[in-house]
């Protein structure tokens, strides 16, 4: 049953560009997919280790900027007569470096900020994102500041001299995002179901207890931040080479908030949660726009929805659905599902 639905879902997703010819819808799906990847990465931290990172957009933006800069090439003067430059490199290398640098920043931030917890951790991550945004805005020589990085090349893959494929059109980008999304999903699932994942869940549930049985708390938190930041960086790199323009607005706090809403509404700490929440909140703006609702009111609705979800669906949609599905089966007299130890 479960395998069947997974297969049906995959077939639907894979065949979608074949029967969906509306490019606008495809564009919305690509953007939603990119944000779902980012939300999945946030979920690894927020859902599985229980740390609310409100600076997650920093990793997304670092991935986007790094990948764009490497593929565009740049030259900066660290000292007036000491230029440091980089020739334009292939896009795949840029993406890889973007992921690595984002992960590295995650590692450093994790090292630094896991000295503190709760409210302090939240504020450190917010501050980090703000500092990065200010750097992107003010280091004009590197980032073009508010003028934005333009004409970012698209991803090209192939064997030199043989053939080359450019991810220029929307269906190709759709498959690229889908592929990265699936890889990220499998990576997170693998991590969460491993020893390290159990350690993370243990320290989410009771940090003192986890430490007392010998779990190296900081190590696992830093590991989670590293992976999470790397995946967020991948989402940022995808964004940069799809939209092909990057400005300091990618560091807007509102993107972090969008990711948080996606995770919370879908169900933090469940693998499917960010996907469900991401679909809802990725497609909701377009739905609201169809009713010609102004963007401000749309955000007001977001805020109110967030409050309502916390009040009425504190666990999120996926766990709530799962429970009602189980209840329904029990009422039908079927043996209760072996509770899918909500990974």
């Amino acid at each position: 049953m479960k395998r069947f639905s997974t297969l049906a879902l995959l077939t639907g997703l894979l065949s979608l560009p074949l029967w969906m010819s509306n490019l606008y819808v495809l564009h919305i799906l690509i953007m939603t997919g990119i944000f779902i990847i980012a939300a999945m990465s946030l979920n690894l931290l927020l859902g599985f280790t229980g740390q609310l990172s409100l600076g997650h957009v920093a990793f997304f933006g670092i991935g986007a900027y790094t990948s764009s800069l490497v593929s565009l090439g740049f030259e900066v003067h660290l000292l007036p007569d000491w230029p440091v430059g980089l020739e334009a490199k292939p896009v795949w290398l840029g993406m890889l470096l973007g992921i690595l640098l984002a992960g590295l920043c995650g590692w450093v931030i994790g090292r630094v900020s896991f000295k503190v917890r709760g409210a302090y951790f939240v504020i450190v991550t917010v501050s980090f994102a703000e500092v990065v945004r200010l750097v992107a805005l003010n280091w004009v020589e590197l980032t073009q500041g508010p003028m934005a990085l333009n004409n970012i090349p698209v991803l090209r893959l192939g064997v030199p001299g043989w053939f080359e494929f450019a991810f220029l059109r929307k269906p190709a980008n759709y498959y690229l995002v889908l592929l990265v999304g699936i890889v990220a999903y499998l990576l997170i699932r693998r991590l969460v179901n491993s020893r390290a994942g159990r350690a993370m869940i243990a320290l989410r549930e009771n940090e003192a207890l986890a430490a007392s049985v010998g779990i190296d708390v900081t190590r696992y938190l830093v590991l989670a931040t590293f992976v999470s930041a790397g995946i967020a960086g991948a989402a940022g790199a995808l964004y940069a080479h799809y939209v092909r323009i990057v400005d300091p607005e990618v560091f807007s706090f509102i993107y972090t908030v969008t990711m948080v809403i996606m995770v919370i509404s879908g169900g933090k700490g469940t693998l499917a949660g960010p996907i469900v929440g991401g679909l809802i909140f990725g497609l909701l703006p377009e739905t609201l726009r169809a009713f010609s609702i102004q963007p401000e009111i749309q955000w007001v609705i977001y805020g109110v929805l967030m409050i309502l979800i916390v009040y009425f669906l504190p666990e999120g949609i996926v766990p709530a659905l799962r429970r009602s599905w189980q209840g329904w089966r029990e009422r039908q007299g079927a043996p209760a599902l072996k509770s899918e130890a909500s990974p």
Binding site: G50, L52, V112, S113, K115, V116, G118, A119, Y120, V122, I123, V124, V126, S127, F128, E130, V131, L134, V135, L137, N138, F253, I254, V257, V260, I264, Q294, E296, I297, W299, V300, Y302, G303, V304, L305, M306, I307, V310, Y311, P314
Partner: protein, 290 residues
């Protein structure tokens, strides 16, 4: 040297309003354990109320100031009654998410109501600055500093001398015991949130005429208030007061001698450094206020 004097004076004057912001936030956190993300929106609300009363309704400037603060207190009480009361006992992350939701809703309501265009607010002060030898200061800023100083002293007096303040401090130390001694916890919470919000609205109402009012002004105010509070240690009022002035000095000197683009970044760098070096904040006296 003259330049340094000027920067110091500017920092002193800015620090007053920063301290107001910080004290409000730290009170709310200390007593209620709520990380108040709407704090900056209350600040923006104060500035917009000044705009509404002074520029649209034509009310006297000083009366408008009082009205703006009173409305800020009312809005704070409303938020507490509507959103936070039912979350009593919930963990800190839950309340944080609700406050983030409220923040987004409030900010966009402000943008919807007042449009994204920045509004300037007239003040009754002469435009020529007060010149003291090599340094000068505008009358408006002097007024801002004076009012901020009065409000800081009044808050200290309220916390340390009044009966309400005593009940607040008792709640801060031990909620259950305070309740057993007959302190109305719910009233204390509403009063605390209203007071903190009123201080934020006052800061906004004071700075609105100096700068301009715009919808996202609250974001930076919130983040700065967090920086100030972390600097002083969450829950410490003297810490928040000192933190406000320290942040103002850092910003003013950073903008003057390093780069004005990074003015607003100083606070965040400061937070990161403080948390690495001394995570409890500079002035935390082991979880006490007053």
């Amino acid at each position: 040297m003259d330049q340094l004097l000027q920067h110091t004076l500017n920092a002193l004057i800015l620090g007053g309003t920063y301290a107001l912001l910080g004290i409000g936030l730290t009170l709310i956190f200390g007593i209620m354990r709520v990380v108040n993300f709407t704090h900056g929106e209350l600040y923006a609300f104060g500035a917009y109320m000044m705009y509404m009363w002074v520029m649209l309704a034509g009310v006297n400037f000083y009366l408008a100031l009082v009205l703006a603060v009173a409305l800020g207190i009312a809005l704070g009480a409303l938020i507490e009654l509507l959103l936070l009361r039912r979350l009593r006992g919930a963990d800190i992350d839950t309340t944080m998410l609700v406050m983030i939701g409220a923040w987004i809703a409030l900010q966009n309501l402000e943008q919807f109501t007042w449009s994204g265009v920045a509004k300037s607010i007239n003040s009754p002060f002469p435009s020529s600055p007060l010149v003291l030898g090599p340094i000068s200061v505008s009358w408006n800023r002097l007024f801002v500093f004076a009012v901020a100083a009065v409000l800081i002293v009044a808050t200290y007096a309220l916390i340390n001398r009044s009966k309400l303040g005593k009940a607040m401090r008792a709640t801060f130390q031990d909620r259950e015991t305070a309740a057993l001694m007959g302190v109305e916890i719910n009233t204390i919470y509403t009063a605390t949130f209203a007071l903190g919000s009123g201080l934020a609205a006052a800061a906004g109402a004071l700075l609105g005429p100096v700068f301009v009012a715009y919808p996202s002004m609250g974001d930076l105010a919130s983040l700065k208030a967090f920086a100030i509070v972390i600097l002083g240690g969450l829950g410490s009022i003297p810490g928040a007061t000192a933190g406000g002035f320290i942040l103002a000095f850092m910003e003013e000197l950073g903008a003057g001698y390093i780069s004005s683009g990074f003015r607003d970044g100083m606070g965040f760098l400061l937070i990161i450094v403080i948390l690495i070096v001394k995570p409890t904040g500079l002035f935390a006296r082991r979880e006490r206020i007053g």
